[in-house]
């Protein structure tokens, strides 16, 4: 019984991680930048989701606004922060991103206060029983909607022209450009989609925890980095698998060796162990 509870917990956690890590891996695959500030859009989505839902009562609207503004926020980050730094050595963008994230976290604290925001009437809190396990409606909804949205993205990437253009740009930007693909359009799109996903994840976490606070993005940002490294930087499939694996490791790990080290330490210990054995990541194809 404990096993299945942990499994369920892992899946929910894994979905959230996957949603956040996907945006990160899209950016890395394209620009070789570790986009730490990505998590700020996750937090932004959470705040917007709560505010809009509290004001309007419509969950759909909350998601729409959160995703749209997070997406645009991501594009803004690209244009203002990363694009000017593309010709520089990679650590410049990394450190700029870290600075941006820390500043963003502080801005959230200053604007919304340190104590956090909650739903007036949190949605989807009803309990649902499936096969002897208790789930909150929200937990089920996360899993289902994540699967749908990720599946949709996968389909778009392989079946539409714009998706294929994106893939081409990842593997060989110069070649792609010579085919007439506008690099900056592809980049904007990647940031838009990836950041919207982060915002989407943010709203869900807000619903699951009924609390939004300025530092909620910190841990996911580090974890997401660990996940994309685990998955083999730039590989979407690898990232998804790594996200689920990490969810599992954390849930089972904290239950069994939680006295030795805390949740984050377990996640990173796992990462370091894996990298020692397979320096290219768990699921990298190279």
């Amino acid at each position: 019984m404990l096993f299945f509870e942990l499994l369920a917990q892992s899946l929910v956690q894994g979905c959230i991680y996957a949603l956040i890590a996907l945006g990160l891996t899209l950016v890395y695959g394209l620009l070789r930048i570790l986009h730490v500030a990505h998590a700020a859009l996750f937090t932004l989505g959470a705040y917007l989701g709560v505010l809009v839902y509290n004001a309007s009562g419509s969950l759909l609207l909350a998601f729409a606004v959160a995703m749209a503004l997070s997406g645009l926020g991501g594009v803004a980050m690209f244009r203002l922060a990363y694009q000017p730094l593309l010709a520089r050595p990679p650590y410049v963008a990394l450190i700029a991103s870290i600075g941006l994230y820390i500043a963003a976290e502080e801005v959230f604290r200053i604007v919304f206060g340190a104590s956090g925001l909650s739903f007036a009437q949190p949605p989807l809190q009803a309990q649902v029983a499936i096969g002897g396990l208790q789930f909150k409606e929200a937990e089920l909804a996360v899993m289902v909607s994540s699967a749908i949205i990720i599946g949709l993205l996968g389909w778009l990437q392989t079946r539409t022209r714009i998706g294929i253009a994106c893939q081409a740009t990842v593997s060989d930007p110069q070649m792609a450009e010579s085919f007439g693909i506008r690099l900056n359009t592809v980049r904007d799109l990647n940031f838009l989609v990836g950041s919207a996903l982060a915002g989407f994840a943010g709203v869900w976490v807000a619903i699951l925890n009924n609390l939004v606070e300025p530092t909620m993005g910190s841990v996911p940002s580090y974890k997401a980095l660990a996940i994309i490294v685990l998955g083999g930087l730039g590989s979407v499939r690898g990232t998804l698998l790594a996200a689920l694996v990490l969810g599992l490791i954390e849930s089972f790990g904290t239950t069994y060796i939680g006295q030795l080290m805390d949740r984050n330490a377990i996640a990173f210990a796992f990462l370091i162990l894996v990298l020692m054995m397979r320096p290219q990541g768990l699921f990298a194809r190279r």
Partner: protein, 295 residues
């Protein structure tokens, strides 16, 4: 006078800590996002040995040794991974350290350690010690830079594959950089414990690692003098302007971002561009890999 002495001591420790990272990241080009862990190792080692009755000065070499030992392990790990992964791996080491410390009661657990025996030095004497060690560290770094080790480090920072083709045992040099840099961080940690009289897992987390990295970056990666200046300024900032204390993180974050966006060479780069307004010189800071994505 008491307040000034305390502030200066904080500055001296920060300078020492920042210079230790500058060796690894600035001289040798290895990005470390978990350097605070080594500060922590030094701090906990010194505090616990003091509790066991050791005189403070005797704890210093042990603190350095243990920090360097962990540093070598991390260094060995870094040899196996690519540069991109190194940042995340070192970040992971940082989380691993505080995650383990947090759960160990004998290390003080969540509450940390306090009330350990003092150094036996009064405040001015301790300040002299801290300052002296900071100056010695700066001199050591300047010396290293003028030796063949410094030249090799610079080459590794720019292009380690080419250095291998020139017969350089790159792995051993990286390890040397980690060993020396982390030993110095351990030294700073021992001073840190005595100065603040309290240490806990939260003292050595990711934010601390980023803070010290920001000192190196704002100073100008590789420049001993300017990194020291940046460390002094940034560690004293919250003290000088009371209202900044509350916005300390915003300032750090903003500074990191603005620096990288507009002056990636840091203060050193800015000063250099005033002196030599030639556009011909390398567009990346000295000792950096000149690789990027097409704009």
């Amino acid at each position: 006078m008491d307040y000034e002495i305390s502030l200066l001591t904080t500055i001296a420790i920060s300078v020492l800590f920042a210079l230790s990272l500058n060796l690894i990241t600035g001289f040798c080009g290895q990005i470390s996002l978990g350097h605070a862990a080594f500060l922590g190792v030094g701090a906990y080692t010194s505090a616990m040995l003091s509790q066991a009755g050791w005189p403070f000065l005797a704890t210093l070499p042990v603190a350095m040794l243990l920090a360097a030992a962990l540093g070598c392990i991390v260094g060995l790990a870094s040899l196996r991974v690519r540069a991109d992964f190194l940042a995340v791996t070192t970040m992971g080491v940082g989380f691993l350290f505080i995650g383990v410390v947090r759960q160990q009661e004998w290390l003080g657990g969540e509450m940390g350690l306090s009330g350990f025996p003092g150094s036996g030095l009064d405040k001015p004497a301790f300040l002299a010690l801290a300052l002296g060690l900071a100056v010695l560290t700066a001199l050591l770094c300047l010396y290293i830079r003028r030796t063949w080790m410094g030249r090799v480090f610079g080459g590794i920072a720019e292009d380690e594959d080419t250095m291998r083709v020139l017969g350089i045992d790159v792995p051993r040099y990286k390890l040397a950089a980690f060993a020396i840099g982390t030993a110095l961080a351990g030294l700073a940690g021992a001073l840190y414990a005595q100065h603040f009289k309290f240490i806990g897992p939260d003292s050595f987390g990711f934010v601390e690692s980023v803070t010290v990295l920001s000192m190196v970056v704002v100073g100008g990666i590789g420049s001993v003098f300017w990194v020291a200046v940046a460390a002094a300024l940034l560690s004293a900032l919250p003290g000088w302007f009371q209202f900044i204390g509350d916005y300390k993180l915003l300032v750090y974050g903003g500074l990191l971002f603005l620096m990288m966006r507009f002056a990636p060479g840091g203060l050193a780069g800015i000063v250099q561009s005033w002196r030599k307004p030639k556009p011909a010189a390398a567009s990346a800071p000295a000792g950096a890999v000149a690789k990027g994505v097409q704009p």
